[in-house]
């Protein structure tokens, strides 16, 4: 290719600069700023001054922060849980019962609507006088009927249930796609060797799904950052009595209710570290794959 390197670079810039510019403005620059803010006591109205690690130590002493952190972990349980459930369903679906296409389609439906839309639907379903409780009473399990979203003991777990409901279908799709590309003669071999499908599936097929399981896990962790906010905003508003706060929602309230920019930024940095950790894990996984 002809031309001086600098000149060549200049020719490339018009192409990449717009995208880089927008991403820089929307993502890169704010990352820098959020880290910066986390070390100040800035509020929406006052610029504030440098306070070192004060925000962080305040967070560490704040029981709401820890409650939120705990709730995040509880909701993250949805990742391994959805994977296990999806594996079980895939094992049955793959066998090819009659109408498995229809089942696959129905099981996948929860994936499509937006988190916000689904959350509102479950607001209705999980209400004290809503369908879930009604059906429980209908089958005589009155004692199980609960104000799911307003009882401190059950609220976060109800949210976990909703998350699971939404995630499993997507995960099943992932696994089914990968199963389709596996070598079917292995299953024939196992069958002739004397193994029933259950043994064949869990001992021969699932080990081969390892990379897609890891992919599902990583995707799950990354997306958690987005939906923990939406579900909490709609389903519980952090209640009852701030027992269902998550870090994302905590951040939102700190900033837009209490105007505490510095503190909110500190929480954001915690999330940032987690996000980067997940990304690093993903890269490390990818490296291992190529050098396997």
């Amino acid at each position: 290719m002809s031309g001086v390197p600098a000149l060549r670079a200049a020719r490339a810039y018009p192409w990449v600069l717009p995208a880089l510019g927008v991403v820089g403005f929307v993502l890169a620059y704010p990352i820098v700023k959020v880290v910066q803010y986390s070390f100040t006591d800035r509020t929406t109205f006052l610029d504030g001054s440098f306070v070192g690690l004060d925000n962080y130590s305040e967070l560490l002493r704040d029981e709401i922060f820890w409650r939120a952190f705990e709730n995040n972990l509880i909701l993250l349980l949805s990742v391994p849980l959805s994977i296990v459930i999806a594996l079980a369903i895939t094992g049955i679906l793959y066998r090819g019962v009659r109408g498995s296409r229809l089942y696959e389609l129905l099981i996948f439906i929860p994936f499509l609507p937006a988190v916000a839309s689904i959350a509102v639907v479950f607001l209705y379903l999980l209400a004290s006088d809503g369908p879930v409780n009604e059906m429980l009473r209908g089958v005589g399990a009155d004692s199980l009927a609960h104000p799911w979203l307003t009882d401190e003991r059950t609220a976060i777990w109800a949210v976990l249930g909703v998350v699971l409901w939404k995630r499993v279908g997507f995960t099943v799709l992932l696994f089914m796609a990968r199963m389709a590309s596996l070598d079917r003669t292995l299953f024939d071999a196992a069958a002739v060797d004397g193994a029933r499908w259950t043994r064949t599936y869990w001992q021969v097929a699932v080990p081969q799904l390892r990379s897609i399981i890891q992919f599902a896990a990583v995707i799950g962790f990354i997306e958690a950052f987005s939906w923990t906010f939406a579900y909490i905003v709609i389903l519980t508003r952090g209640g009852p009595d701030r027992s269902t706060f998550t870090l994302e929602y905590f951040l939102y309230r700190l900033q837009f209710d209490e105007q505490l920019v510095g503190l909110a930024s500190a929480v954001a940095v915690v999330l940032l570290v987690a996000a980067v950790a997940v990304a690093a894990y993903r890269i490390w996984l990818a490296r291992r794959e190529t050098f396997a």
Binding site: A9, R11, A12, P14, W15, V16, P18, A19, V22, V23, V26, L27, Y29, P30, I31, K33, V34, T44, I89, I92, V97, L102, Y103, P110, F111, L112, A114, V115, A116, S117, I118, A119, V120, V121, Y124, L125, D129, G130, W165, G169, L173, L174, E223, F225, S226, W227, F229, I234, L235, L251, Y252, V261, A264, S265, A268, L271, L272, A275, A279, R282
Partner: protein, 282 residues
């Protein structure tokens, strides 16, 4: 020839399989079914639960939520946000993907890696400074802020998709064009873009869907009633607004919010699913 399955044992196992699948399928479909059923119920007849479709369905809820509660305006806002953001993201990503594939320059690897790496950053992490910047620029509650922010969030993934695709295009096509004397711009317009049509379509649709479904950015940057999107409307209407415990109304609203995606799904299942799977469940 109906020898049937391998004997009774297999039949029993098949029954068990079916039972589990039926349970899973029912569980998956039930919420949306209940949503639809409730949406067609007369509000006055509704007492908290509607398990079976009513014999007197009504569209009142839809028309009320559309007119009185402003869902018509919200719908437009959602359309504006998602289409604009998707358009900008796709166009910019196409240009950037082209730039990264067809040019060699210092820092190319770092910039590309960094750009795509931004996929790992969730919006919630940057929303505070983003809001402040937009606020300082006076862009909060202006169309520009929401659209640019949304486009920015979608860009890393868009670049990832389009770069992967364009990188796989045969180099010879471009080299031939180069030898023929075509300018870079012409190569882009007449070779890269047409050949990337499937990826461009996918990118646009994926970005539009995610922007449509997004809650956080329009919630923060488009706060006025004029700019509320469907998702924001649902979030504030449902739990927030006093006096609105009108489930049928709410369910009608939710159905409206889901409609475009449902239609897109019915029209173009395969590609849609494939693209969404790559992007994940947000």
């Amino acid at each position: 020839m109906s020898r049937g399955r391998h004997g009774a044992r297999r039949a029993l196992a098949a029954l068990g399989d079916h039972a589990i699948l039926v349970a899973a399928a029912l569980l998956s479909a039930l919420p949306l079914y209940l949503m639809l059923v409730a949406s067609f119920q007369r509000s006055s007849d509704f007492d908290g639960v509607a398990l079976l479709p009513t014999l007197e369905p009504t569209f009142d809820n839809y028309s009320t939520v559309w007119g009185e509660f402003g869902f018509d305006r919200m719908f437009v806002n959602s359309v504006v946000l998602s289409m604009s953001a998707a358009l900008i993201a796709t166009v910019l990503a196409a240009g950037a993907a082209y730039g990264f594939t067809r040019f060699r320059f210092a820092g190319r690897g770092v910039l590309l890696g960094g750009l795509i790496g931004m996929m790992a950053i969730p919006a919630i992490v940057v929303i505070v400074p983003l809001f402040i910047v937009m606020s300082d620029l006076g862009l909060v509650n202006q169309h520009a802020s929401g659209i640019v922010a949304e486009a920015g969030i979608q860009l890393p993934f868009a670049v990832f998709l389009l770069y992967s695709y364009m990188n796989d295009l045969p180099v010879e096509l471009f080299e031939a064009a180069e030898v023929d004397g075509a300018s870079r711009w012409r190569q882009f317009v007449e070779i890269a873009l047409p050949l990337s049509r499937p990826a461009l379509a996918t990118t646009f649709v994926i970005s539009a869907i995610y922007a449509w479904n997004d809650l956080l950015i329009p919630l923060v940057l488009w706060q006025t009633e004029q700019l509320t999107t469907l998702m924001v409307g649902l979030a504030t209407l449902g739990p927030g607004r006093t006096g609105v415990r009108d489930i049928p109304l709410l369910m009608a609203g939710v159905t409206i919010s889901i409609l475009p995606l449902a239609i897109a799904f019915l029209l173009g299942r395969r590609g849609l699913v494939r693209g969404l799977v790559e992007g994940g469940d947000r």
